[in-house]
Amino acid sequence: MDAGEDFASMYAREGESVLVFLARRTLDVGVAAELTAETFAQAFGSSPRLRGRSEVEVRAWLFTVARRQVSRYLRRARVERRAVERLGIRVPPVHDDEVTAIEERAGLAQLRTTLGGELAQLSAEQREALQLRVIEERPYEEVARVLGVSEQAARARVSRGLRALARALEPYRARGELSR
């Protein structure tokens, strides 16, 4: 952060872009919101070290943290909340009207259409889990009920499916169609 710039200004500048970035990576606004909170909680803890850095450097640092959060989420099928819990942050809920607004800003509708085609490449188990969670946007409890597995297992299937999709979508990313 430039000398004199406080955390609040940096958050006001970068908050939405980090949230949209994470929504496009996880295709799930709820998860993206939690990852955004964790990303900025880590930034808050590191803010004394970021002081004096340029806007570009701070942004690069933030997005590296955000990317790491996504990869941990995809690997472990759960959102890391270490910094959020250490600081005692209460993550606010995302209301329905906001979900729509964030999805629009992240272009998730278009992304989901592209994904519909790519789903065919996945195993039936992963396809069904992603169909329910990502395309039909059903809550995890319902996904678990339909699949006849525990909620934890449903989360694992979705995250494994997303990981497989991320690999399938690499060519699109390389062409710049999906990146932001």
Binding site: F7, G15, L19, G88, R90, P93, E142
Partner: protein, 424 residues
């Protein structure tokens, strides 16, 4: 700043942290200055000590002149309320939980007492700068604020430990007590019991650990025997047990809270395992409900399988119902709406199942705040056979006054405390 409410509210959390961080820095700088003064040499220490003695004597004199017997200490800038903090469950680190609680308390107090200062002193939290005679209002705003919704008939226990829903099953002759407990709106009456009897029944239940439990670990209570000296001291009538200590999350906390003149050997410890809760019956007046230790208070025992918690409510505010009575209205998060819909659908389905032969038996869900039942609304299964979609939010009316509705709305707005607070 983005106009997204989520980002705005998350930003407010960081602002709170930033304010805490600045306050801590200032405190450290102040302490540091004092340490440096001491290092200037023996002369400085002597001057410092002399000044400290003068200031100390003056403070004692002032306190002696202004303190009301038995009441809180009154400073020139207002009253001071001290709370002792204990962990919600054993093993939870107290430090971070106290810091979180201080943040929430500041928010809760900010509108009613803009000048209030909240700070930490070891395992206590001190509120300063509130007007004299506002102690009761400050204590009301330091309530835990844990709100839970339960499927009433599926969770409330009959004196034999079975649920009311199981006794109202279709095709069975309805158990009279079960029927009255189901249709009794959670007020004192058939099936309700004294605190001792409720805790005793709860202590006989097996542990039922699940993700829907609102409390982690067991809860400890200590009672004195009927007609014991301790019960006589408390003015409890003949033949009645009296509460000496609890509910506490650990035996250690239970013994610590024991009155000084009572020995441990005088009490009987009862342990309620995780998965069962003891809730006070619905009172006609929220603010005048009897305290837990009052022998007129009545209780119900429920399985602790909450269908929905206060974490899923949004924008709570005080309002009035159609009859003009004060209530608290709120919206629900997406998850909360799903849970509310599921809860009311289950209740409606069971109501349809147990009704028959011209008899309509609507079933209910219960709303509890801080171990006290607030209201037990019924679901009309004929009007809502598939439950109620919670998109319009919900409201709770439980004998509120305008002021108590405002207090409850404030408590719910900023979420539950992370520790238990007891005013000293």
């Amino acid at each position: 700043m983005s106009e997204l409410r989520f980002l705005e509210q998350l930003g407010a959390e960081f602002e709170r942290l930033e304010a805490d961080r600045s306050a801590t820095k200032k405190r450290r700088r102040r302490d540091h200055r004092w340490v440096r003064l001491r290092q200037h040499g023996a002369a400085a220490v002597v001057i410092g000590l002399s000044l400290a003695v003068v200031v100390g004597v003056a403070a004692v004199l002032l306190a002696t002149r202004t303190r009301e017997p038995g009441g809180p200490a009154s400073a020139g800038r207002g009253a001071r309320v001290v709370f002792h903090a204990t962990a919600l469950s054993p093993g939870t680190p107290l430090g971070p939980a106290i810091e979180r609680t201080i943040g929430i308390l500041r928010l809760r107090l900010s509108s009613a007492f803009p000048g209030a200062e909240v700070s930490r002193a070891g395992s206590s939290i001190v509120v300063r700068g509130v007007p004299n005679r506002s102690r009761a209002a400050v204590i009301a705003l330091a309530a835990p604020a844990r709100l839970e919704f339960y499927d009433w008939e599926a969770n409330v226990l009959l004196p034999d430990g079975t649920t009311v829903a199981s006794a109202l099953g279709a095709g069975l002759a309805h158990n009279r007590t079960a029927l009255r407990m189901s249709q009794g709106a959670g007020t004192p009456g058939p099936g309700s019991m004294s605190l001792y009897n409720a805790v005793e029944l709860a202590s006989r239940q097996p542990a039922r650990v699940s993700a829907d439990n609102t409390r982690q670990g067991p809860q400890y209570y200590m009672f004195a025997s009927p007609d014991s000296t301790a019960c006589k001291d408390y003015g409890v009538g003949p033949g009645e047990h009296c509460l000496l200590s609890g509910p506490d999350p650990s035996l250690r906390a239970l013994y610590r809270d024991l009155p000084k003149h009572v020995r441990r050997s005088e009490g009987q410890v009862l342990v309620v395992p995780q998965g069962t809760v003891v809730l006070e019956a619905v009172s006609s007046s929220f603010s005048r409900a009897p305290q837990i230790w009052n022998s007129s208070a009545q209780f119900y025992v429920l399985r602790d399988d909450a269908a929905l918690s206060g974490n899923e409510i949004t924008n709570p505010h005080a309002a009035t119902d159609q009859a003009g009575n004060p209530d608290v209205t709120f919206g629900l998060t997406a998850k909360g709406r799903t849970q509310f819909h599921q809860l009311t659908a289950d209740v409606a389905r069971r109501g349809a199942l147990v009704s028959g032969l011209g008899q309509t038996l609507n079933e209910h869900f219960a709303v509890a705040l801080d171990q006290r039942l607030i209201t037990i609304p019924q679901i009309d299964f004929q009007q809502y056979p598939n439950g109620i979609i919670g998109s319009g939010g919900a409201d709770i009316s439980g004998g509120f006054t305008t002021q108590s509705a405002k207090t409850v709305a404030t408590l719910l707005r900023f979420g539950p405390l992370s520790v238990n607070l007891v005013a000293r």
